[in-house]
């Protein structure tokens, strides 16, 4: 029913209203709808892309109004489909009240987009950038659902530093909505099946039945430097006490759980804009300290393990707008799931031990992903935007078992993407 309502509103705007925005009284309504196509040459990426797929779309609709001077309120509903992710389920993207007391101090209360790096807040809205995808190492798809928004409160503002430029800040505390069938938990479920299968079990099944976390703390600083066009930024987030519990079957029932003592990440950003040329550099780090527990009811002990994952990624991109209608971009991104194993020697050794057979070793190139992306953007009108993108990747660190067969092991692979978006 919600989807039908969504489509009716879009159809009305598209076919009936020759408008850039709808306004009912003091309420402004905006939105966008996009449809994309993905194809890869050697492995599946994010969906069944080897055959080509149209399971790649996004829709959003927002309503906002100004209640009194400085006080505004609004909400946005959002849906997306990307292979097994999203499936066009409608979710509340953001919904909050915002009061700006002074330029240097404002308060927001409700569900807000999670801010980290230059782009996480707008990762679902590709019309705001040159490319179709953000660099996957810095903005991982695995946590897209989990980190969509924070329910809580934030303070924000901009502090003038006179001849030193301006410093803007946002500090947020609240909770992410973690669900067992999305984001990090969904990825963990697949990993659990893979790991148990490595011990020789067949037809392994696992189901994460519960996933949640404590408070999220998030701070973003951006310094608009005195050098015109140069912005420096840093973001930090910390998620308390994330956990999941799972039941599974591998010969007999088993129980598994994971509790995270530390989950924090940070991004350093630099962006320089000179006329229509934009240079961007961002580096990203994420640390996960967790305890995994595995237990068969039939045996009198449990298997506990403590692990630290330290991921690292960076990218550099250059974009230039050549005319009102055309923009071109190039991005180079490196991603390492384990910053202490950039050459893959550790992943190779661990896989050997886990599988008990040298024949099942993971190749070293699972320890990295180095991608080069060329994007072309065509602004057909002020409402229509089309994009083409080509990405060539060395390495399999973005590999996902759910979308690939065991035999799909390729070091070099390419992604072709196309997308068209209508916004109002």
């Amino acid at each position: 029913m919600k989807k039908v309502l969504f489509l009716i509103i879009f159809s009305y705007i598209f076919f009936v209203g020759n408008v850039f925005a709808l306004e009912f009284g003091d309420v402004s309504i905006h939105g966008f709808i996009s449809q994309g196509y993905l194809r890869t040459d050697k492995i599946n990426y994010l969906a069944d892309t080897k055959e080509g797929t149209f399971e790649f779309n996004e829709m959003a609709l927002n309503f906002s109004t100004i209640l009194t001077p400085g006080l505004r309120a609004g909400l946005q509903i959002f849906s997306y489909d990307l292979g097994e992710r999203g499936n066009d389920e409608i979710s509340l993207d953001w919904c909050y009240g915002d009061y700006q007391w002074q330029s240097w101090l404002g308060v927001r209360i409700g569900a807000m987009k999670t801010a980290y790096g230059l782009y996480n807040e707008t990762r679902d809205i590709d019309i705001l950038r040159s490319g179709i995808f953000l660099p996957a190492g810095v903005y991982p798809e695995i946590v897209r659902d989990d980190m969509q928004s924070i329910r809580g409160a934030s303070i924000y503002g901009e502090i003038s530093m006179y001849f030193m430029g301006d410093l803007s800040y946002t500090a947020t505390i609240g909770k992410h909505i973690f669900t067992p069938d999305k984001g990090f938990a969904a990825a963990a479920e697949l990993l659990l099946v893979t790991e148990v299968s490595q011990f020789g079990y067949e037809n392994v099944q696992a189901d994460i039945i519960e996933a949640d976390a404590g408070f999220v703390k998030n701070i973003v600083l951006k310094w608009n430097t005195p050098i015109i066009g140069l912005v420096l930024g840093t973001s930090y987030y910390n998620i308390d006490d994330y956990y999941w519990n799972a039941v599974g079957e591998a010969g007999e029932l088993f129980l598994s759980s994971m509790t995270m003592h530390n989950w924090f990440g940070w991004v350093y950003s630099l962006q320089y804009t000179w006329n229509d040329l934009v240079l961007t550099y961002e580096s990203y780090g994420m640390v996960l300290d967790y305890k995994s527990r595995f237990q068969y009811p039939s045996i009198p002990f449990v298997l506990d393990s403590d692990t630290r994952d330290h991921q690292e990624s960076w990218y550099i991109s250059v974009t230039n707008r050549f005319s009102e209608y055309f923009e071109l971009g190039f991005t180079y991104n490196e991603y390492y799931p384990d910053r202490n194993d950039k050459d893959g020697s550790k992943i190779n050794r661990e896989a050997e031990v886990g599988a008990g057979s040298a024949g099942n070793r993971l190749p070293d190139y699972y320890a990295w992903a180095k991608s080069k992306t060329i994007s072309a953007r065509f602004d057909l009108t002020s409402n229509w935007c089309a994009k083409l993108e080509y990405t060539s990747t060395d390495g399999q660190a973005f590999y996902n078992n759910a979308e690939n067969e065991e035999s799909d092991k390729e070091q070099q692979w390419s992604l072709y993407a196309a997308k068209i978006t209508y916004m109002f």
């Binding site: 850039f20 925005a21 402004s28 905006h30 966008f32 959003a60 927002n62 906002s64 100004i66 009194t68 001077p69 400085g70 505004r72 609004g74 909400l75 946005q76 953001w94 919904c95 909050y96 915002d98 700006q100 330029s103 807000m112 987009k113 807040e121 707008t122 809205i125 019309i127 705001l128 950038r129 901009e158 003038s160 803007s168 015109i228 066009g229 804009t273 006329n275 229509d276 934009v278 707008r321 009102e324 923009e327 602004d379 002020s382 916004m423």
Partner: protein, 179 residues
């Protein structure tokens, strides 16, 4: 306004004509294999291009910032104007909301985004779309003609916008810009 556009068009044709003429002379020098003349023509062409660029740049519209008479200030700093038009300051005082109004007439719009917000037109557009799609602001009101914009600002409390300097101002106040 029309007079200014007519003179701009004439000047643009003149620059285009001199560029084409220099290119023809350059081609002739190349065909005659006259190295000295070729170097000379290349220098002249380069100077013509540089002059044309700077001259065309100076043809861009000059703009003035205007507001509804309810706005209780007559002067704003460049920095404050930039903050207002980028949505970083949202109210004049506790009882008056700032309403930003944008004129989409291409030469004026381009001059405004470059001089006031230090952004290109596409960067300015995307800046506001980002605020709007993350719930941080409503998009500015947009008008295609100066008359419509003037009419709206004159009627709307707290409204601020811009027009070309040649426009006659009625029912609105001009805001002086200080450093």
């Amino acid at each position: 306004m029309r007079k200014r556009y007519a003179s701009d068009t004439l000047l643009s044709f003149a620059f285009a004509y001199s560029l084409v003429a220099e290119l023809i002379r350059l081609k002739r020098a190349y065909e005659k294999n006259n190295t000295m003349k070729l170097k000379h023509q290349l220098s002249v062409l380069l100077l013509t291009i540089l002059f044309s660029i700077s001259a065309i740049d100076s043809l861009r519209a000059e703009i003035v910032i205007i507001a509804n008479p309810s706005v209780d200030t007559n002067t704003l700093t460049k920095k404050e104007i930039k903050r207002i038009f980028l949505g970083r300051r949202v109210k004049w005082n506790d009882t008056l909301q700032i309403e930003i109004v944008v004129l989409k007439d291409p030469p004026v719009y381009k001059e405004f985004t470059k001089k006031i917000t230090k952004k290109s037109v596409s960067q300015f557009t995307n800046w506001w779309r980002k605020l709007m799609f993350t719930g941080k602001a409503n998009l500015p009101k947009e008008f295609e003609t100066e008359n419509e914009l003037l009419d709206y600002i004159a009627k709307t409390k707290g409204a601020i916008g811009y027009v070309s300097s040649a426009t006659a101002l009625e029912g609105v106040k001009k805001l002086e810009i200080s450093d």
